[in-house]
């Protein structure tokens, strides 16, 4: 009891200190906009569970007569959403794995060996992250065609891996620079080869950074639209992004179906986000706040 009291008082004092300066009106405004921010998502959610006839007859702001999963089952079965989702994973998982592995190698080399090209290479990666995709679109389209991988999963896996390599190497290299070089040097003295040092020391050290990167890259690759639009033509190979956009062409007036499909397509990225939120936000800010 006597121990708990000062702690309590301390907590109250701290809260007081923190809350000082935020006017209640501002808090109300922040809450109002936060709820407004959720309206599109909540609205879409409510629409997806209602029937087309119910909406048509009574309007959006009527009290729903029936809740139905029909839009979801139709999206999954007739509109082929299941196949699209599968395609998205078939493209995203290998791209992500390859990108993370290759960029960790790249980052290790850039930090461990100070050779003449290490800084220009680093700058190339930094500049590359800001490149508009349009600048690569046509040659990559041509190259995929020439290599015979146009309209296959491979074309997307390769471009995602290569393009995201720049960002990942950039982030991991900055992450690696915080490791004292003496750690590697003592391993060299103990007779370890560079690959052993990489596997046993450097890679494990990079893991927290890799986790942050992987969550971020997962959403970026999974959410890609432009590359899939340009490189995949067959409907049965399309990832969920271009697949859904395509569906809208077929089911123009059937908005509950499209909205239901859109919500389902968001589930994987939402799981990654809520499951690994801390890493996700780290990943987003690491490139921005540290040089």
């Amino acid at each position: 009891m006597s121990l708990a009291q000062p702690a309590q008082a301390n907590k109250v004092a701290r809260e007081k200190k923190f809350r000082k300066g935020v006017h209640p009106a501002i808090i109300v405004i922040v809450w109002f906009f936060a709820l407004l921010w959720l309206v599109p998502i909540v609205g879409a959610f409510l629409t997806a569970f209602r029937t087309f006839d119910d909406l048509n007859e009574f309007g959006l702001f009527s009290i729903p007569r029936v809740f139905t999963l029909d839009n979801f089952t139709r999206a999954w079965n007739t509109a082929n959403l299941g196949q699209f989702m599968l395609n998205s994973f078939i493209i995203t998982i290998p791209s992500l794995t390859a990108c993370v592995l290759l960029s960790s190698m790249c980052a290790y080399a850039l930090v461990r060996f100070r050779f003449a090209l290490s800084r220009p290479l680093y700058m190339m990666f930094v500049a590359g992250l800001m490149l508009p995709f349009q600048m690569l679109l046509l040659p990559v389209f041509k190259l995929s065609d020439d290599l015979g991988i146009y309209n296959t999963y491979w074309s997307l896996i390769l471009i995602h891996t290569a393009f995201q390599l720049g960002f990942c190497s950039f982030v991991l290299r900055n992450f690696m620079r915080t490791v004292p070089p003496s750690l590697f040097e003592s391993a060299v003295i103990d007779g370890a080869t560079e690959w052993v040092i990489f596997r046993r020391i450097a890679f494990p050290l990079m893991l927290p950074g890799l986790a942050a990167l992987a969550t971020l890259e997962f959403t970026w690759i999974f959410n890609d639209f432009l590359w899939a639009l340009v490189l995949i033509q067959d409907t049965h190979l399309k990832p969920v992004t271009t697949g859904l956009a395509n569906l809208r062409g077929q089911f123009t007036t059937d908005y509950p179906l499209i909205v239901a499909g859109s919500l389902v397509a968001t589930i994987p990225t939402l799981i990654v986000f809520f499951g690994l939120q801390r890493y996700f936000i780290q990943g987003l800010t690491v490139g921005a706040t540290k040089g």
């Binding site: 309007g59 508009p132 349009q134 679109l137 390599l165 720049g166 639209f225 639009l229 040089g291």
Partner: protein, 320 residues
Amino acid sequence: MALASRRTRSANYQTLALNRFLVIFSFLGIPLGLYLVWVLWPTLYTFYLSLTNWDSFTPPVFVGLQNYQYLIADPEFQHAVINNALWILVFITVPTAAGLALATVLNNNLRFDRFLKVAYFLPMVIAPVIIALIWSWIYLPQQGLLNAFINQVLRLLQAIGFNVDPKSAYSIGWLGDPNLALIAVMAPAVWRQTGYVMILYLAGLKTVDAEVVEAAKMDGATGWTMFRYVIFPMLSPVTTIVVVVSIIDSLRSFDIVNVMTKGGPVSATEVLANYMYVKSFDDNRLGYGAAIAVVLFGFALIFVMMYLRQVMAQEDEGTA
């Protein structure tokens, strides 16, 4: 004897250098090779393609600067440039100011601040295409959320005696009206960007030196003065990043425009990224598309240079 030992020593150096090269190459070979083939070379090749006529079926034919001459006189291209400029203007002001304000407020350990942060940040997690699809539904004249809401408001106004027709709400075509379409298309982009900016500033605020803030407090700085003269200047590296990222994202805005309007009606929402795609893949004028890409690249480059300068400066600080 001495000669022999010198020779072996130099031979040793050579093997060492070769070994070093091989080790470095074993790490960098694959990633760099991929990057060169799929990113660097395509970037350079686009410059060449912009000097050609290419229909994607027959090989590109060199035509010099012709594509650029056509571009200058192309009214749709001019629309795209103006819209892109407007898009940049909105992006570096609205989400930046809103995100900074939110970060400043949410940095005060409010009750339920986790919920608030997630609410603002959630759109960032959703694919732009899906955002575009959901907002297309919101904007539908008859079945959309927005007009249904306006209808409710008008009904309320009618009920308290105003002379309005609630049915008229359903005639607003947000994406069909050239005067409304650009704002309607930018809204979801701003909706998405604000949370991102907020997160960047929240991270920035964590690095603000508490001692400096304390010292300023001692000197009597409060509220706006504190923010304007103490905190905001300390956030300037984050602000640079936010501005550069906003500009680059504006130039990259493709998904939302392409899905919601395809640049229409009558190029009211046309932006360079979409125009490049339409010319290349819908009209099969890939050389012309490449020229648009080069212009886009040129705009991006100006701001990328700004960013690179900051990275370089931090880099030199880091090694010093």
